[in-house]
Amino acid sequence: MKNKQATSESKFFFDSAKNIRRVIHCLYGCCAVLLLLEFFIHRHSVHSWEQLWGFYPLYGFVACVALVFAAKWLRTWLMRPEDYYQAGSKLETAKDDNKPGADNVDG
């Protein structure tokens, strides 16, 4: 299905909302199973926190949410327009924001 010609505007896998929902539900299912597996697999641990129920899942989730919110907050301080360094710099005033790319390629 994915190998169809580029020109055809046929439906691809993620074009349908149903498929996206399926993938997400699959992820929910996996998460639930992984959480439940803790009851069945004996875990040896080096650190006492590791022994807490759901430590790794909770840590992973909270870490990522915290990471994203912190990064978003950083944007307020660090984000600048794309031509920030070009503006006012004599060395980089040339208007070429083209990335190096296909120009070195034969054919």
Partner: protein, 568 residues
């Protein structure tokens, strides 16, 4: 026997010369054959080889093979081969010759047994690699390459200064354990730190790598930083400071990676994050930790190379690399998508992929040696790396919103290079014993036990869950056409502004002094002019010669009169 004593960089340098003189199929063949022959030569070597020469009063060791350097030797041959296959379609003599010189310099550096040889190859690395950035042939690439070169050369000079102090203290140049003792220890430490992208010294990497050519970035990602990791593992194992530096390296880049738009720059930040794991391992210094660091360096070259190759393919085919301009490419680039996902799974350390078998060694070592806080940071970084490199890279390039780009998969040679890397990622993940056998310390370690697999999978799946939740809720920061300030702001803006204002002041001062001096000069000139010009008392130009003659006549008359009066 002569083969054993032929240093590993020599075939690459000879090949660079031959490649410069040949073209087409012959050049491609030379470039492909060299890493293969070189690797075979390394394989046939006896366990340890040292070549020594006497240079003035010092014993130099330009070629030293032991288990540690051999590991990196294999790695660099492999990386060179993959990168050369990836760039077979390129018709650019400069890039092709420089690629061989660069790989050769990296080999020279890891097999250098003394600090002077290390310095020489250290600078060769800088001067060869910068051409891979300049080969972009844009003003941006030129400026970024210049900044890169300045930082690299600074690192080399610090290394040289450190070597001078070292030979003064110890009387030898041999490169063994150094430790943070005295000026030599610190200077070399900072020199390595620059190349290894320590926090605050890291910005050359994220500034320059994304400006290099499609194929150049793949090469760059393999060598420079890994040479620094090798040198740290040789000179500073067990230096506790490295644990904290490494922990910082794993954490701070992921914030930048989340908000960065240029996907190759995201990978550059992610590279610092991976280097952090290696630096922590070297800092802990136990056999398990150092083995883990080196194994991770090996895996990182392959999976980071794979990710850079996938993003290079996207850039090559679409001409775009910003997350805000991409999306939906899975429809027409299915092979690249799949290969990229394998790279993403490897860097995220999914079980059965290569990152898992090496990263877990460092994590376990951190816990066993009571670095609990560091362990928590590493765990945070593990979740974070999955977030930005594991999900963000494939998601924004190949899925997300459809940008309407309908380009095909890249040329076959690029796909082949990516395939080799992907197969290695899985092969090492499935059968880590092959990798462990190459490690410098004998160690029985098995990454695959139920606890490890379960906890790591939980961590990753719940990170993915967080990504989904944030996206569905609309909390996820959108990819914006913008750049983010990093420490390069200090030298591109702050120092530039300071220097401009200092020079503006100096110019004003200079102008004032000149004005003052000129005023004095003019006053003198005026004085002279006044005395010479019309109406001037003494030497006025306008006084006729006749008046002088008259005055002479008056004087003579007076003289005559006086002498006449005297005679009476």
């Amino acid at each position: 026997m002569w083969m054993a004593e032929l240093p590993a960089f020599v075939p690459f340098f000879i090949a660079a010369l031959l490649a410069a003189l040949s073209r087409g199929v012959l050049r491609a063949t030379i470039m492909l054959v060299v890493p293969i022959i070189g690797a075979i030569q390394l394989y046939l070597l006896p366990e340890t080889v040292t070549v020594q020469v006497v240079f003035f009063d010092y014993q130099l060791m330009p070629y030293r093979v032991d288990k540690l350097s051999l590991m990196f030797g294999y790695l660099f041959h492999l990386a060179a081969l993959i990168a050369i296959i990836y760039s077979l379609h390129v018709r650019d003599t400069l890039q092709q010759v420089v690629a061989l010189l660069y790989a050769g310099s990296a080999l020279g550096a890891v097999f250098a047994g003394d600090l002077l040889t290390l310095f020489v190859f250290w600078e060769c690395l800088a001067f060869s690699s910068v051409f891979l950035i300049w080969a972009g042939r844009t003003q941006r690439a030129y400026a970024a390459g210049m900044r890169y070169l300045l930082v690299q050369v600074l690192s080399g000079l610090l290394l040289l200064a450190g070597a001078v102090f070292y030979v003064h203290d110890k009387g030898t140049l041999q490169f063994t354990y150094l430790g943070l003792q005295g000026a030599a220890g610190w200077l070399i430490f900072i020199a390595l730190g620059i190349k290894c992208a320590f926090p605050m010294l890291h910005n050359w990497l994220t500034d320059a790598y994304p400006e290099a050519t499609v194929t150049g970035t793949v090469l760059l990602s393999a060598f420079t930083t890994k040479v620094a990791i090798y040198a740290l593992a040789r000179g500073y194992p067990g230096t506790e400071l490295l644990v904290y530096i490494g922990a910082a390296m794993t954490c701070f880049p992921i914030f930048f990676a989340v908000i960065e738009n240029d996907l190759r720059r995201v990978l550059a930040y992610s590279m610092i994050n991976q280097l952090g794991f290696m630096v922590v391992g070297i800092g802990i210094g136990t056999a398990l930790a150092v083995n883990g660091a080196i194994a991770h360096a090996f895996n990182d070259v392959i999976f980071k190379g794979l990710l850079f190759m996938a993003m290079g393919a996207v850039l090559q085919m679409t001409g775009r690399i910003n997350g805000s301009d991409l999306g939906g490419l899975y429809k027409t680039m299915p092979k690249t998508t799949l290969l990229c996902i394998i790279g993403a799974a490897s860097i995220s350390a999914f079980p059965l992929f290569s990152g898992f078998v090496s990263k877990s060694m460092v994590m376990v070592a951190a816990l066993e040696n009571n670095f609990n806080g560091v362990w928590l940071l590493l765990l945070f970084a593990s979740a974070g790396v999955f977030h930005h490199a594991g999900i963000k890279i494939p998601y924004f390039a190949f899925f997300a919103h459809d940008a309407g780009l309908r380009v095909s998969d890249p040329p076959n040679n690029m796909l082949l290079a990516m395939l080799i890397a992907a197969v290695l990622c899985i092969a090492i993940g499935v059968y880590p014993a092959a990798l462990y056998a190459l490690l410098p310390y004998e160690l029985a370690y098995s990454p695959y036990d139920a606890t490890h697999i379960l906890t790591q999978t939980q961590l990753l799946f719940f990170s993915a869950l967080a990504f989904v939740w944030l996206n569905l809720r609309g909390y996820y920061p959108p990819e914006l056409r913008a750049i983010n300030l990093d420490t390069d702001w200090f030298y591109r803006r702050f120092f530039a502004a300071v220097i401009v204002s200092v020079f503006a002041r100096l110019t004003r001062l200079d102008r004032a002094i000149r004005r003052h001096v000129m005023a004095v000069v003019y006053r003198c000139l005026n004085l002279l002019a006044r005395s010479n010009n019309e109406g001037g008392v003494l030497f006025s130009r306008s006084r006729p010669i006749g008046s002088m003659v008259m005055w002479v006549a008056v004087l003579l008359a007076a003289y005559l009169f006086i002498s006449f009066v005297e005679h009476f």
